[in-house]
Symmetry: D2
Subunit: 310 residues, 4 copies
């Protein structure tokens, strides 16, 4: 089970497809194993990056089962966001029965005002009971602002175990929420960043417990989290900086997932960079830019060295 | 099969639920029969007003089957809009196998620019093949602008049989599209308005072939369409005006569906006004206002008289 | 001075232009006098409908002075909304010195969350001191949700004298705010509706003190407000219904202002229907529809009879 | 005069204020001189980053005159974007008379569809005649998508001399537009990137002629542009990477300007980090993070060394 004491790197998994658009079950297995080997402390599937709305209910459950089978006992969080409670409830129930550790919920577009947002999310939390749940704060995707007051009210639910904090700018919000926890104005829950890791060193330094994102080199995320927590901010920045150009490139809305799948394919973590239609395609120019970034990275970072040798 | 020669009133059906939130199969049947009796020439289910995203795939298909069974041979259009092609394809296929006459497609939020919008919708049209399809132009719900140029390009697909034209303001767009058809710059497809009927007389006068909306008195829609087509615009306005306060009240975003289900319940067309969570609830004040509107309507419109007598 | 005891009809004035786009000073005068004669209890200029962002500072002040000169002592409210406080402060100061009764403030697009919205508006209120001010709640235009909690907090400022309540749907919000005032949870301020008068009878019945809108027949607004306040709801609806088709047509986003200026020109209230570029133009078809509505109205409503006689 | 042959770094200037919110004329002068000394080939003022909507017309012209006086003959571009043409025309005329080299135009929020967008911008171009003008493509700020087709149509105007290309993701759009120019499908205009320089090396490699942004170390922008154009991509990345954490931090919506003004103050380029109200404030935590980034930068980049010595 997922708890409010979670720490480390929770890798957001893409959903791998074969070139003809079918679920790539074999890649789902190898990817899961690669993330475990990279030092992940948990995995998330069927999030916004996981092309969840493009899957039907059976495909979603097949992916859940494969990842669970290969996760080596790591907690697996399943994204269940939907405009209605009924499909959320159904997926949460099936995922938890299959062995998931918890579910993740983001509000839908169109919610207006603190009160309506709080009420919608409280209903969603009730719908996924008895699963532990992660609140995703990602206004860039859904336009919904979660104020610290609303987050604190949601965190009062004992099943709310984690905030995926990816508001942007978001660092001062982390500081505000940690201060509220320290003063007892908010129940302590785990705080994990996102946004592709773009502000990872600062997020951890501000008090986040970990990061939940899908950057194609999760080893780097593990290393940076460890260094910052050990108080070695400068060493963390030394490790972080050479990756920042690629992190920035994976962080682009829409296109970023295509970049990420391409890198994962280059690394051998999945077999195909396919995005299920409709979705962006990498241009030759972008692919060449990513290749250059990977070559450069391989010269500078031992994490990336193995790939470059190939 | 749905064709580009469709005319008349295509009633958008809500999805009826029992007070505990289950699909109300009995009401689905009575509602379908009531709409047939009211003079509908077609029915649409699982549209935006049909709470489609709150249903799971099995419930959606159950509703499809019940409505088809009671539709007395009228064409039934099934909304299949989704962010990904795979679920659209799956639902279109099952619905057409069950006997649907066609499907309806609205673009998802977030599309930017004529080219991307055209490309997304062409992909969607391919995904639902070989079903005839209706293009829904409803930017108030999804923020996607469909220019006349894009609509004409989509209409070139022989399976594109109808535009549900509910841009707002939208009357000049109807005129523009009809002129393009007249000049041969656009393939002729059926044009049906929407927006709850708020501009129904003008829409028909501008050249629309019919209307696809869910106003709780479809008899009134039938009457107005007939009068305008017969050139009796003033008689059409005489019929329309007493209903306009209620049309306006049903047209409110979000809340409107709750009003409509309440009126349908008062009319005995469905058994319960339940909206599946999450959704708006009618306040006592709103209910009293709607009751007053219905009482007033009953005094003035023979269509509504029967209800008032009860 | 504008006070929290304001009632009646506050007419939103368009800004009249000559066909070449210059400020039409003569029409500004005749329009003001026509609104006074129609029974307005106050006037608002330079609002969203007043094309304020298309005027430069000198033109704005010229309009302020003309309207003040012809307003016959009625309170004149000046819209001062802007993205920064400095221009708001400058315009508020000049307008109040010229004799305005108060200013109106709407939040800019892009504010996120109750706290940021409250803080922005408190800063704006400070910037326009010592002017009495009207809070405009119009999310359709700016995307900013004002929760009852935020409105109540703003109303605690003794210079906050009025809420222009045009959220949509908005009737239950009126009821909520009136209940908060009744319970002492919110300072009593004047509540005026908007939205072109589309829900005017219900708004007054819910407790609004008046309406602030620019429907081209303000006499009708005066009559409806009076009838509802006198408890004659049915008579109010009898007066309201024949106007509802035109109210609906003037209420369309963007295009509505062009319709309104056309009607005001037909009525002789302003000399030209010109909208300063960039802006929508009326098509011949729309003009014909409006003409038909006016002819129909003239047959049915004594208010409109004089116009029809010409 | 600004021409379509422009290249290099055009620095976007913030508007400096004193702590009490007045225009800081002295800092405007020192800032201008610092940018000239840093190797800028042009300057832009009163852009989105320049807090233009917070200035009144007189303040705007004062800033124009100061920057022109100290720009050492460099072309100065003046942002004139506004919701209406009249204020654009007025500011353009006054700025050009004062000696500006051209104006910059971004479309306002709310435009829908290629045709309406094209028409609005053509009207704006006419309004600022005879000034040369820069088209700003920045959908993150205004929600308006500019398709390559629309951009090409606008570039047909001989006074359209430059595209500020900051769509995001935007690299493939640069490639598309350059290809259209190469094939003669679009008139050749200067292409300058933006987005705070976040993708600067790639933008230049894709064919951009320069960059127009306000990163607080314009010397770095000059160096990177030069290295990429000299074919030394790897050296460009060596120079770029150490700055990327700060570039990323300045690129945050809203907060980024506060960071930038703080860095410019630390560098002695302006005297105060003041943002005119309403605006974000730097937290102590953010200030400490920026200080750490600057210290780190000073150890690694000769450009930043002087600052660190102080």
């Amino acid at each position: 089970m997922l708890t409010a004491e979670a720490t480390g790197v929770c890798v957001i998994c893409p959903t791998p497809f074969t070139p003809d658009g079918a679920l790539d079950e074999r890649s789902a297995a190898t990817m899961t194993e690669a993330y475990v080997a990279a030092g992940a402390s948990a995995l998330t599937i069927l999030g916004i990056m996981g092309e969840a709305p493009k899957l039907d209910a059976e495909e979603a459950m097949r992916l859940v089962r494969i990842v669970l089978k290969h996760a080596g006992g790591l907690p697996v969080i399943v994204g269940v966001s939907a405009p209605g409670y009924a499909p959320m409830k159904a997926l949460a129930q099936r995922a938890m029965e299959a062995g998931a550790a918890g579910v993740m919920i983001a509000p839908p577009t169109g919610l207006r005002g603190d009160d309506a947002t709080l009420s919608w999310l409280q209903g969603a939390a009730a719908a996924v009971a008895p699963a532990p749940w992660v609140l995703q704060d990602f206004p860039q995707a859904n336009g919904v602002h979660l104020s610290p007051r609303v987050i604190a009210a949601l965190a009062a639910d004992p099943r709310c175990v984690m905030l995926k904090a990816e508001d942007w700018p978001g660092l001062d919000k982390i500081t505000t929420l940690k201060a509220m926890m320290a003063k007892g104005e908010m129940r302590r829950i785990a705080m994990f960043g996102g946004n592709g890791g773009l502000f990872l060193p600062e997020e951890i330094a501000r008090g986040n417990d970990g990061v939940m994102t899908g950057y194609a080199f999760p080893e780097l995320l593990v290393r940076v989290v460890g260094l910052v927590k050990a108080g070695q901010m400068d060493a963390a920045m030394d490790a972080f900086e050479p990756h920042l150009p690629l992190i920035r490139t994976e962080h682009q809305p829409g296109l970023g997932l295509a970049v990420r799948k391409y890198v994962l394919t280059r690394r051998g973590i999945i077999a195909h960079p396919t995005i299920r239609a409709p979705g962006p395609k990498l241009s030759d120019a972008t692919r060449a830019e990513v290749d250059a970034m990977l070559a450069r990275l391989a010269r500078r970072d031992p994490v990336a060295m193995k790939m470059a040798a190939e």
